[in-house]
């Protein structure tokens, strides 16, 4: 026990020098620059529209990171990640609107709800592998979509309309922005630390070879469920924040499109890189905002209209990524940057 304490205190003592070393690595430096930009961004503009884009991107970053953790590091590819996102959004909205919770209590409740659902989904999907797991999770999401729509259950599940008038995290967009930034950065740090820890090694072994992990004495059932629960915790965080940002929640939150979005974002940034999902989410959100107005140029032009639909353009992008740059869209660019970085530091 005292040994552990010694180890932790040494870790904390060494942290400043560790941080300094990390900043001078390529990854660390780039992350620091991005973080600096995100911190300084509200000084550039306080326009709620621009801040809103970034807030949404940060919410999706958390969501995509949670998916990437499950798929990229534990090998459990879920096509129904909207389950956890939506359940938590409902939980947060209901407790905020009907029970008068404060935002953090509601968020905590939503995350717990998502973990419980993650546990259940994990158990249901235990024996499913590969494409069957993807199908299974997708089907559960579609079931929830229909369940929450049913008019007869309106008393319990608020029917078609969902819950409206959810109070925001704060009236001030800048406060929301910084709160989200903290949530996003801590999510990414926590998830990366988990993948680097002992339990992360076990997750990766299950991803690479499940039978092999079992032959190494690992209870794969247990760890797969734990992976589902960790992932759903953060997907739940994103869902709750989303509900507070959009100010309402409806059954459409369970639609496959949301599950598809995270997949695209994670693939954009490179699967099995937690921080890549943040890059992917920002690229996705900003690009789709830019593309949205494309059809205004000429509403009669079919091609422009098609391109203004983010799902359309990103589906094409996804195919290109899968075919040519499976490490992520930005990987070639990042590698060039890394060379430049090494030259600048005289290595």
């Amino acid at each position: 026990m005292s040994q552990n304490i010694k180890k932790y205190s040494a870790t904390i003592k060494n942290f400043p020098s560790y941080l300094k070393d990390w900043i001078f690595t390529f990854k660390g430096g780039l992350s620091m620059l991005c973080l600096l930009f995100l911190i300084l961004f509200p000084m550039l503009t306080q326009n709620p529209y621009f801040l809103g884009i970034f807030i949404l991107a940060m919410i999706y970053s958390i969501f995509a990171a949670s998916w990437d953790f499950l798929a990229g590091f534990s090998g459990q590819v879920s096509f129904g990640h909207a389950i956890f996102f939506g359940i938590s959004a409902y939980g947060v909205s209901a407790t905020l609107v009907f029970n008068g919770f404060t935002w953090w209590a509601a968020l905590l409740f939503g995350m717990l709800l998502a973990v419980v659902v993650g546990f259940i989904v994990g158990i249901i999907c235990l024996r499913l592998k590969g494409p069957y797991l993807a199908l299974g999770t997708m089907v559960i999401a579609i079931m929830l979509l229909d369940l929450f729509k049913i008019g007869q259950l309106k008393e319990y599940l608020w029917g078609d309309q969902g819950i409206i008038g959810v109070p925001p995290l704060s009236r001030d967009a800048v406060v929301v922005y910084f709160a989200l930034l903290i949530f996003m950065v801590s999510t990414i740090i926590i998830l990366i630390q988990i993948t680097k820890s002992n339990i992360g090694t076990i997750f990766k072994s299950i991803r690479d070879d499940e039978t092999g992990a079992e032959a190494s004495g690992i209870n794969t059932t247990k760890y797969k469920i734990i992976a589902f629960m960790i992932s759903s915790l953060f997907a739940g965080l994103a869902g709750g924040l989303y509900a507070m940002y959009i100010r309402s929640v409806g059954p459409l939150i369970f639609q496959p499109l949301y599950s598809f979005y995270v997949l695209i974002m994670a693939a954009l940034g490179g699967i099995a890189t937690i921080s890549g999902s943040a890059i992917g989410a920002f690229t996705f959100i900003i690009l789709s905002e830019v593309l949205r107005d494309f059809n205004r140029l000429d509403p009669t032009n079919a091609i422009l209209t098609a391109f203004s639909n983010p799902a359309f353009i990103f589906s094409i992008l996804l195919i290109i990524i899968i075919r040519f740059v499976s490490g992520g869209l930005l990987k070639p660019a990042l590698e060039r940057l890394k060379e430049l970085w090494d030259v600048l530091l005289g290595r």
Partner: protein, 247 residues
């Protein structure tokens, strides 16, 4: 010298095919035993049944006085039976060190490993199998011989009492075979009970003091390698009927 592994009347049927038929044998603590038989004799099936990857149709397997028939494979590993596979399995995108760490993180492996730390224990196992200079690279780029060593290392990480080696020599050059032979001998000297298969008799002959022979899922005979090699039924199984004169 108590009985460590006791297999009784083990039978495994696939639809229309009896892969293992009423098979019984015993392995004592500290022994070094080989299981021989031509291709398709059912050697790997027996290993799968012992290690819990498949369930037998009937029969019992007792390990260290405990009934382990049909238990889940990770539970069996944590009781002290580790195995390697005929077709090498590895965690492709993890470093060799992490490959071994996974075994050290299993409940049984952890008991031993946590005294020294997981990484240190994994490194010492890597050193023991002779791969320590490749600790930081993933197994995708390793030659076949190193992968075989890695497999044994992964099995050692769980701190086994009984080591099941499924065709540890298949697909190896003569030099590589020598290295593995040395490694297995050293492990046996350290007190691990070893049970290994092979379909080429010559390799096993020099290594093990006792072999069990099987053919088409059935037990034939057991004893000293020389005796077994001269057994009429064994020769028939390997070379076909009427081949005694040739051998």
């Amino acid at each position: 010298m108590g009985v460590l592994l006791e297999v009784k009347n083990l039978t495994k049927k696939y639809s229309g095919l009896t892969a293992v038929n009423d098979f019984s044998f015993e392995i004592h603590r500290g022994e070094f035993v080989g299981l021989i038989g031509p291709n398709g004799a059912g050697k790997t099936t027996i290993f799968n049944l012992i290690s819990g990857l498949e369930r037998p149709n009937s029969g019992t397997i007792r390990f260290d006085g405990r009934d382990i028939t049909g238990k889940k494979s990770y539970k069996i590993v944590n009781l002290g039976i580790a195995r390697t596979f005929q077709l090498v399995r590895s965690f492709k995108f993890m470093t060799l060190l992490d490959n071994i760490s996974v075994s050290c993180l299993s409940p049984r492996g952890k008991k031993l490993a946590k005294q020294y730390g997981i990484d240190e224990s994994a490194s010492s196992i890597l050193a023991a199998v002779g791969l320590i200079d490749k600790a930081r690279i993933p197994p995708v780029i390793l030659p076949h011989g190193d992968l075989r060593k890695l497999q044994i290392g992964k099995a050692l990480g769980t701190n086994p009492q009984l080591l099941l080696l499924d065709e540890p020599f298949s697909g190896l050059s003569h030099e590589e075979q020598k290295g593995i032979t040395e490694l297995i001998k050293k492990l046996h000297d350290d007190g691990v009970t070893v049970f290994m298969t092979g379909h080429v008799l010559r390799e096993l002959m020099h290594l093990v003091p006792r072999v069990i022979a099987m053919h088409q899922g059935k037990y034939i005979t057991e004893g000293l390698p020389q005796e077994v090699a001269n057994n009429k039924i064994v020769l028939e199984a390997y070379l076909g009927k009427g081949s005694e004169d040739l051998a």
